[in-house]
């Protein structure tokens, strides 16, 4: 290590400490009782108490929420990516009247916050009986996920050489055949990227499930976290343990899909 870069190491290290402290504090506090925590905030637990964690893991409601979150994320992703891939294909490789207008419509959609539409969306979902129904969350999430997915996929589909399409057409491939058998397999990395973005967005969504699910049946993890905090606000060690366990799936997913996620946000930013 060159001494010249020593200040750099110190700064980066300090920032690292600030970033990691809240998480580490939560993790360790989860192994204390709340009484221990108020007497000994900084030290290691003595003794280590595992019941905060095991209680959560033993509760069926936690696993049920994990299941709901997963189901809703998967449903949203399949729908968003499916519909967006078809549209992006047409927008990238067909020339037709209204194409640019349609694309502009989707790009304006990039700026529609959920909050803008949430009141009428709620009324709409109520009218169609989709409250307390996973579709009530999946469908709007998919619709709001379309713009970014279409923009990224269109950019990718454009980059695939035209000769390939000519060859496929000569071999008797129709447009859908080309899309399904050639374009999609080639676009696997891009599909991975947009899927990861859709999964993360769905997993962390709060506003919509908060409104749609008044009954506990379909609660997702963020709703569960908020409820748990409200219920056990006096027993903070327990809340810390719950938080840590609620973080695990997202962090594990990040560890696995880091490349796609970062590729996705930079692509989304530069293409959007």
């Amino acid at each position: 290590m060159k001494t010249r870069s020593l200040p750099l190491y110190v700064v980066v290290w300090l920032v690292g400490i600030v970033m990691v402290t809240p998480l580490l504090y939560a993790l360790i506090s989860g192994f204390k009782t709340t009484d221990q925590l108020s007497e000994n905030a900084f030290g290691l637990p003595s003794p280590w108490v595992t019941s905060n964690y095991t209680d959560v893991l033993a509760s069926s409601s936690f696993w049920k929420m994990l299941g709901s979150s997963t189901l809703i994320a998967v449903g949203t992703t399949v729908l968003t990516v499916g519909a967006a891939a078809l549209a992006a294909f047409a927008l990238a490789r067909f020339a037709f009247r209204g194409r640019e207008m349609m694309f502009t419509l989707f790009t304006i959609g990039l700026m529609f916050p959920f909050a803008v539409a949430i009141l009428p969306l709620f009324v709409l979902l109520r009218t169609f009986g989709l409250l307390d129904n996973p579709w009530g969350v999946i469908l709007p999430q998919a619709a709001f996920g379309l713009p970014i997915t279409v923009v990224i996929l269109r950019g990718f589909f454009r980059a695939i050489p035209g000769e390939l399409e000519e060859a496929a057409t000569l071999d008797g491939c129709g447009p859908f055949g080309f899309f399904w058998r050639i374009l999609l397999p080639m676009a696997r990395p891009a599909l991975g990227t947009v899927s990861v973005l859709a999964i993360v967005a769905s997993w962390n969504n709060f506003l919509l499930p908060l409104l749609v699910f008044s009954e506990q049946t379909w609660w997702t993890i963020p709703i569960g976290v908020q409820q748990f905090q409200g219920q056990y606000s006096a027993d903070i060690a327990r809340v810390f343990a719950y938080l840590i366990l609620a973080m695990v799936p997202a962090l594990a997913f990040y560890a696995v899909a880091e490349r796609q996620l970062i590729g996705g946000i930079t692509m989304g930013a530069t293409k959007g």
Binding site: V12, E100, T107, G109, A115, I118, F122, N204, P222
Partner: protein
Amino acid sequence: MSTSTYVKDARPPTAAEAPPPANRRPLMRRFTAWLTAVAFTLPALILFGALVLTPILYALYVSLFNWGGFGSPEDYVGIDNYTRLLDDPVFLGDLWRGLLLVLFSIAVQLPFALAMAVALNQKLRGRAVYRMLFFAPYVLSEVITGVLFMMIFAPDEGLADRALGSIGLDGLGGLWFADQDTVLPTLFLVMTWKYFGFHMMLYLAGLQNIPAELHEAARIDGANAWQRFRHVTLPLLGPTIRISIFLSVIGAIQLFDLVWVVTQGGPDHHSETMAVTLFQFGFKRYQMGYASAISIALFLISLVFAIAYQRLVMRRDTEGALTTMRGAR
């Protein structure tokens, strides 16, 4: 290729490019080609139309009524809800607080993210680990982040006050989220913790696109590290910085989850955002008409900002997005 029912087009379309000149082909075939294209876009169009566009138009309609949210809106009040907005201190406060968050972000969060990106673009040992760590909070939901920091900034009991107390700096601690004057800065601290890594990643991607030769040449010309940063890195990073400012502004205008979980807009509205006010009126006080007017205002502010920003600031950077609107140039 004239037998093909669809036209290949792998080139980026320019703004001036009209729909393709397909005049030579028989009408019927042109129609089939158009139909094929539209068929592909249909699922997306239906989803988008039904669940994004319709609700926004419906909000526009409802905003003209005095409506509690049940039955159909009947008490037409014209633009009363909008004039009420302009007199509502909470809404005007929302705008002010939104502006403060935006300014905080541009003045503090983004420069910090840029500094970290430049640092981690050096050959540092373990930089991959730092990168991963700094970005990690981005994948956590705002709810988890909010609850975590609620407990860390709990008055007296929380980690922040205790840590400050243990090093004799009790005076710096305080009520954090519970005090009118400190709630917004504390929220901003949490937002920085969660989101600076996102902007850092954008900058890192931008930095990696700057050819090393440019820095080398500047070095040979005798430019010191600061001059190289100021005159090589910064200008070449321009497009990335402009996009990151854009995303940060849109994010600040639309902030909801974090505030709702931590303070619900309190104490006494001092951390309230437009989205929170909208939610309060719509789902707590059942004034759907007024809440819809807020949502339309939020929408218009986002839209006007986005169009103005893309036209005026990012025009030279991108061919994409709104600037490709035909005839816009």
